[in-house]
């Protein structure tokens, strides 16, 4: 090292700031003391449909938007939709992610969580994928089929999960890739 050469100190990875800690006082917010209201009678046909094994969406007559699960208010037209339409059991993946949440058992394997768009509907519902599907095979636009729960109770999750269907577009893509 020569005299007069500038010595460059290595910059730290992370500049940390420290502050004197002062006292803290406890305060609580009890979320559990809240009640949340939801009048189930408004979506009776939908729940009945689930119990009997068919899927109903709610269609707004004014803008033709179909919501599944039903939304009681159409924000685009500011009306209450009232036309129930039957939807097929097939769906597509609109969006997906994997949860690496620190679960007790499944710490290693990511749990796929998908946003399902029921065919014929214009809305997305967060749902589960069938358990034996590898997360890496999931892609956006993947076709799915609803799998019913063993026991249907007329409740939200009578559709237990979704399982992948064979995608005809896949073969086309493969051919394209070969070319």
């Amino acid at each position: 090292m020569e005299v007069g050469e500038e010595i460059k100190m290595p910059l730290p990875k992370y500049i940390k700031k420290e502050y004197k800690r002062s006292r803290t006082l406890r305060g609580n917010w009890y979320l559990t003391s809240y009640k949340y209201k939801f009048n189930l009678s408004r979506i009776k046909p939908y729940l009945k449909g689930l119990k009997e094994g068919y899927i109903l969406g709610l269609k707004c007559r004014s803008c033709n938007t179909v919501s599944f699960p039903p939304r009681l208010i159409c924000g685009r037209c500011l009306v209450k939709p009232d036309q129930w339409v039957k939807l097929p059991e097939t769906a597509t993946i609109a969006t997906a992610s994997a949860s690496y949440a620190e679960d007790d058992k499944d710490h290693e394997r990511p749990i796929p969580v998908i946003g399902v768009r029921q065919d014929g509907a214009d809305t997305v519902l967060m749902h589960n994928m069938s358990e034996n599907v590898d997360f890496n095979t999931i892609y956006i636009g993947m076709p799915l089929k609803a799998v019913w729960a063993k026991e249907r109770k007329g409740s939200w999750f009578d559709i237990d999960h979704y399982e992948p269907l064979e995608d005809p577009a896949n073969e086309l893509n493969k051919e394209e890739n070969k070319k």
């Binding site: 002062s22 006292r23 006082l25 609580n28």
Partner: protein
Amino acid sequence: MDKFYDGLENKKFIASKCSKCGKVFLPPRKTCGDCFAKAAEEFVELPETGTVKNFTVANYRVSERRERKLKEPIIIGLVQVDGADTAMISEVLNIKPDDMKEGMKVKVVWADRIKGHPKDIKGFEPIGGE
């Protein structure tokens, strides 16, 4: 605020003083509302006596979770400690509701276990003989 809690640990009232208008705040605060000047630079120690500015006899106690009716009503007072310019809220103890009046002289009662917490001030009781 730290000094206030430290003071409570030693059973003392530490108040802050506005650097501009000289108002004394108890509990202390960083800024004086009237002059927007720093109020946390000068601290003064205040005596244990004070005056009841205003009070109410409460039949209900409200916590962060719920409200409940009290068996024995409690007296909630706004107590201005001598030397301070602001009153603070506290319980008034050892007195019947009917005997309460504004302008009464009171003295602090410390809690049994001091933790440096606002609850160290158990309340105020009237000075005997008055």
